[in-house]
């Protein structure tokens, strides 16, 4: 089961734990194993990419409303590489090559500028495989909070709530 915020307050760990549960003894879980309705409000901060045509042609299969770049009325089917710099989607996919190449969940945190304001965020990218081995999709999630410029030096940390 997908953990609730009461069970696990850290967003990226809720996703990591669910991925781990669904993977079981396989190398990687399948996209079909995931029930996005279980994600609750976390679904708005997640996206799924289709990588069956390769990393360079990764396309958006599903995107949460918080991640949809401004001006992207229809995000599904668009190239992930077209995600505009400064968008949440762009920040989320910074470490996509590492997650795909190493075939393991990768979580990174740090500062970035969002809509002209400094923010601290944390991402997680979870590789998925239709055949249990070759990466066919990636599930990603990001949470962030806006910070005052003076507080930027504070580490992103592992907690926080999805904004």
């Amino acid at each position: 089961m997908y953990q609730t915020e009461d069970e696990e307050r850290r967003f990226v760990l809720r996703l990591f734990d669910y991925w781990h549960l669904l993977r079981a003894e396989r190398c990687l879980p399948r996209l079909g194993d995931f029930t996005f309705n279980d994600f609750g409000k976390d679904a708005a901060s997640c996206l799924v990419l289709d990588l069956r045509d390769g990393l360079a042609k990764a396309t958006v299969l599903r995107i949460g409303m918080r991640l949809k770049p401004d001006g992207w009325e229809q995000a599904e089917g668009r190239l992930a590489a077209d995600g505009p710099q400064g968008s949440l989607m762009f920040e989320l996919l910074r470490h996509l090559p590492e997650a795909v190449e190493r075939k393991v969940p990768v979580s990174k945190g740090g500062e970035f500028i969002l809509r002209g304001r400094p923010a601290l965020g944390r991402t997680i990218l979870l590789p998925l495989a239709d055949d249990g081995y070759s990466v066919s999709h990636v599930l990603g999630g990001i949470n962030f909070k806006f910070v005052q410029p003076a507080a930027q030096s504070v580490a992103a940390g592992s907690g926080g709530t999805a904004a």
Partner: protein, 113 residues
């Protein structure tokens, strides 16, 4: 800054250690390791800190967490490194012996010449 720090959560599966996740935050990696531990039952879990200095092309690793089961299975947990070390030591001894024999043969040949 060319130094990057990563924390890898690894689980022992058979004779191998499999990476379960990569984090840039130690606290998060430790929390993830405990979640993995709860899922994998009796298998040992470790968190390895890797410090990579790109300028020097130097990688330094150390474990920052070992599950109770890892401590109980200490020989098994370190097995993956020891055979390599042992093989290397054996190879080094063989190479040293070969060099000594060749040198001795050379000296004998010179003395007989």
């Amino acid at each position: 800054m060319t130094v990057t720090v990563a924390y890898e959560v690894r689980v022992q599966r058979g004779a191998q250690w499999r990476v379960e996740g990569i984090f840039d935050d130690e606290i998060l990696a430790l929390a993830a390791a405990r979640k993995v531990e709860a899922r994998v039952g009796r298998r040992p879990v470790v968190v390895i800190q890797e410090i990579y200095d790109a300028a020097r092309n130097h990688l330094k690793s150390r474990s920052v967490y070992r599950s109770e089961r890892t401590r109980l299975h200490e020989p098994a947990a370190t097995e993956s490194r020891r055979p390599d070390d042992a093989r290397f030591a054996r190879r080094s001894r063989s190479a040293l012996l070969a060099v000594t024999l060749i040198a001795a043969a050379g000296v004998i040949a010179i003395l007989h010449a």
